[in-house]
């Protein structure tokens, strides 16, 4: 064979990392973040397919934190702590409903403070968190539930199928993948949904999933081919 199995896999992850619309948009906007994301994708993939190496893990964590810092510096969602006039109107209206129905349970000091100062920021953080956990955001520019904030198709919708296959094949690495996904989700929660580059910390994760999906597909195809 011209390439070994390992080399094929690395070629695959490279092809996926550069073969999507998202990375080129990132390069255009911020070359440094783009390069770091490419490295991070590669490192994350290696972390799963190769033996555990502590120095690689440390580099991975460092690059992850660096990207987090660079993106939050520009795209931090300050609206989390700002109450718009519409928000205020809704808060006041609902205040009346809760007061009527709950009485002292709601009108006491503690509940009032929690409602006034915490309820809205928590809701906004939740909104940011879950808006990034939307598969359609990455493959269909949020269609059919477009947000109207300049979404763009980050990956071709044809890659959805290997993505799904990759999700199931990567489950055995749930500790690493789960930790990465949770960390990316929590950091991206602080990003403004209208940030031009999108939730970039998910970029390596999706690349790895698609790569695993394609590898699984190739393995299935190889097993079904008659042996000469």
């Amino acid at each position: 064979m011209l390439f070994s199995k390992i080399q094929t896999h690395y070629l695959l992850i490279l092809a996926i990392t550069f073969g999507n619309f998202w990375i080129w948009r990132i390069f255009k906007d911020n070359l440094v973040v783009g390069i770091l994301l490419v490295i991070l994708s590669f490192l994350l993939f290696k972390q799963l397919v190769d033996k555990f190496q502590i120095h690689r893990l440390l580099i991975l964590i460092f690059i992850f934190l660096l990207i987090s810092f660079l993106t939050l510096r520009v795209g931090f969602d300050a609206n989390i702590f700002i109450t718009s006039p519409q928000d205020l109107s809704q808060l006041n209206r609902r205040h009346g409903f809760y007061a009527d129905e709950l009485g002292l349970l709601f009108t006491n000091r503690f509940s009032q403070k929690a409602y006034k100062y915490l309820s809205l920021p928590i809701l906004k953080l939740e909104k940011n968190l879950f808006s990034n956990l939307d598969i359609n955001l990455y493959f269909f520019a949020s269609h059919p539930r477009e947000r109207g904030t300049g979404e763009f198709e980050k990956y071709s919708w044809l890659l959805l199928f290997p993505f799904i296959l990759g999700f199931f094949s990567i489950l055995k690495y749930y500790k690493v993948v789960g930790t990465y996904l949770s960390s990316a989700a929590l950091i991206s929660m602080l990003l403004n949904p209208a940030y031009s580059l999108g939730p970039v910390l998910f970029f390596p994760f999706i690349n790895v999933l698609i790569a695993f999906g394609l590898i699984s597909f190739l393995n299935i195809f190889k097993n079904k081919m008659p042996k000469s």
């Binding site: 809701l123 879950f130 956990l133 493959f139 269909f140 059919p144 919708w157």
Partner: protein, 556 residues
């Protein structure tokens, strides 16, 4: 099961029933257009044996140019006879369906997991108290009945794996789901075929039961043949699909320039619609875009359930060889298909089977997480905290916010209007025109609550339908109910008659009030305290005099 376990499951089931019956006629207070239609048709059937269009025992019920599956309406007939024509009666069938769903879910999980009681109780709790389950089993919707029958059939399918004779009731109930709601027409066929394929080896040893069960299933589908060639059978899909050339040309974007572009467009559209039902954002945060099908601040599951959701997927994949899990995977895969064939994004009502199966995934996740915690008091504490958090979320979002903010989706103001008219002796001799431009169901809702004589309404509507009951013909339906007419206001005619015109700010503007000499009589407020409807009496004499002064010919 020991005594403690029996007591525990009894508490869970009783709580599930209680939460579905508590203030059932108050939240939501009202009836949407479909509920009012089913309610009145049930009343009409109980009195005359015909629906409001004068059709005897329809195979499928016509309603404002569309069609409703029949089973809910027929089940409503004895309920309406027993409890009267009120909100409670219409909601009750859904509530009882919800209770059946919870009971059967427990049994499915218990027998499917080889009597794992803890897992089964968790399933019952998640199914019983998930927001989607509460919402859709507290107002009248055919989908809840469809799901109840589906879940009942799944229970029998699971039993049939041990004793093949249960395949017959399984096939029967599965076939009956197709008469309960639209989505089940496809889901039931996919499931039936899928089930046989998955357990084909078992059926090879029991060919007789397979043939008999298939015959029973097909027999239950036979009534559909009566309307297959008419517009009624496919009307709903025609209204909401995206397969047409017109849609492709409008939304196909760059695919319009490719060979097989329309085919690719349909595949892409289907993929985007299908995957949207699996998206954590939609399941755990952003609810159905339609207000009538969503709870404020809550999606179909509580947001914290995203964690056990992922854990549950892992559990599902790890145990995929179990028979019960194979059935669940089949349901998860096929249940979003009917909804994905439509262009409405995340239409929850069409995917209750899917939401039900996701509840199982979440319960598996909760179970696997709890089993990893070695200390009983930590597990217990975690369960109590999550339960309390969920109860508080549910109470504040559904029993408070939903009650106030969604009341208008169920015609709250129109019901209050009817109460006002009936309680006010001054209006007993007056004639009313209620504008229904923004609420087509106003007329049938009033007819139902007033127990309006069905034979009189049939005389009006039958003339419009003729002998084309099952065709796709649409026409404007006028509801003249004694002294109340529900229809759009005709300004060139209505202001010349002595009557009270009722409508919202869009129906009756300030300019029209001045121009037509209308006199303010009363206002009706919605549940949030905002004025939603206003009543104005006409002044035909002043209007005619004004016309004469302006030399305008008036119509009578």
């Amino acid at each position: 099961m020991n005594i403690k376990q029996i007591v525990l499951i009894f508490i869970v089931l009783f709580s599930a029933l209680f939460i579905r019956l508590y203030q059932l006629d108050q939240i939501p207070f009202g009836l949407n257009i479909d509920e009012a239609s089913m309610g009145y048709n049930a009343y009409s059937l109980s009195q005359t044996g015909k629906d409001r269009y004068g059709q005897s025992y329809p195979v499928i019920f016509r309603s404002f140019g569309s069609f409703q599956a029949p089973l809910y309406t027929y089940l409503l007939v004895p309920v309406v006879q027993l409890f009267g024509t009120n909100i409670f009666a219409v909601h009750l069938v859904s509530a009882l369906s919800g209770f059946i769903i919870v009971c059967c879910s427990f049994l499915i999980a218990y027998f499917g997991s080889k009597r794992n009681f803890k897992l089964a109780v968790l399933v019952a709790i998640v199914v019983g108290f998930a927001p989607w389950s509460i919402l859709f089993t507290r107002f009248g919707t055919e989908a809840s009945l469809g799901l109840a029958l589906f879940v009942l059939s799944i229970y029998f399918f699971i039993l049939s794996l041990k004793k093949i004779s249960f395949f017959i009731p399984a096939a029967f109930f599965l076939g009956m789901t197709t008469h309960a709601y639209y989505s089940e027409r496809l889901i039931s066929i996919f499931f039936f075929v899928g089930f046989i394929l998955i357990f084909f080896k078992k059926f090879l040893k029991n060919k007789g039961w397979l043939i008999l069960g298939t015959a029973v299933f097909i027999a239950t589908l036979l009534p559909h043949l009566m309307v297959l060639q008419s517009g009624a059978f496919t009307r709903r899909l025609e209204q909401v699909n995206y397969f047409s050339e017109e849609t492709f040309l409008k939304q196909g974007e760059n695919l319009r320039n490719l060979p097989f572009g329309r085919f690719l467009y349909v595949i892409r559209e289907f993929s985007s619609q299908y995957i949207t039902y699996f998206s954590p954002k939609n399941l755990f945060f952003e609810a159905d875009p339609q207000q009538a099908r969503s709870i404020p601040n809550l999606s179909v599951f509580y947001s914290w359930m995203v964690v056990p959701f992922f854990a549950g997927i892992f559990y599902l994949v790890k145990n995929k060889s179990l028979e019960f899990i194979k059935i669940l995977i089949l349901i998860i895969a096929i249940s979003p298909i009917p909804a994905s064939l439509t262009r409405d994004p995340f239409y929850t009502l069409r995917t209750l089977e899917f939401l039900w199966s996701v509840s199982f995934i979440i319960a598996f996740g909760i179970y696997s997480i709890l089993m990893r915690i070695p200390y009983f008091y930590v597990r217990f504490g975690l369960v109590i905290v999550m339960l309390l958090f969920s109860i508080v979320s549910l109470y504040t979002s559904y029993f408070i916010l939903f009650k106030y903010e969604r009341a208008e989706n169920f015609g709250y103001s129109y019901i209050k209007l009817l109460e006002f008219i009936e309680q006010n002796e001054n209006f007993s001799q007056k004639k009313f025109v209620v504008d229904n431009s923004r609420d087509l169901g106003a007329g049938v809702r009033i007819a139902y609550l007033k127990r309006y004589d069905p034979s009189k309404l049939q005389q009006t509507l039958k003339v419009l339908v003729g002998n084309k009951y099952y065709s796709s013909l649409e026409f404007e339906e006028k509801y003249s109910l004694d002294n109340i007419e529900a229809r759009p206001i005709f300004w060139e005619k209505d202001v010349y008659e002595e009557q009270i015109l009722i409508g919202d700010n869009l129906a009756i503007s300030e300019q029209q009030i001045t121009e037509h000499f209308l006199k303010f009589e009363f206002e009706i407020k919605d549940r949030q305290g905002n004025v939603s409807l206003k009543g104005y009496s006409t002044n035909p004499k002043a209007k005619k005099e004004s016309d004469i002064a302006k030399q305008i010919p008036h119509s009578l």
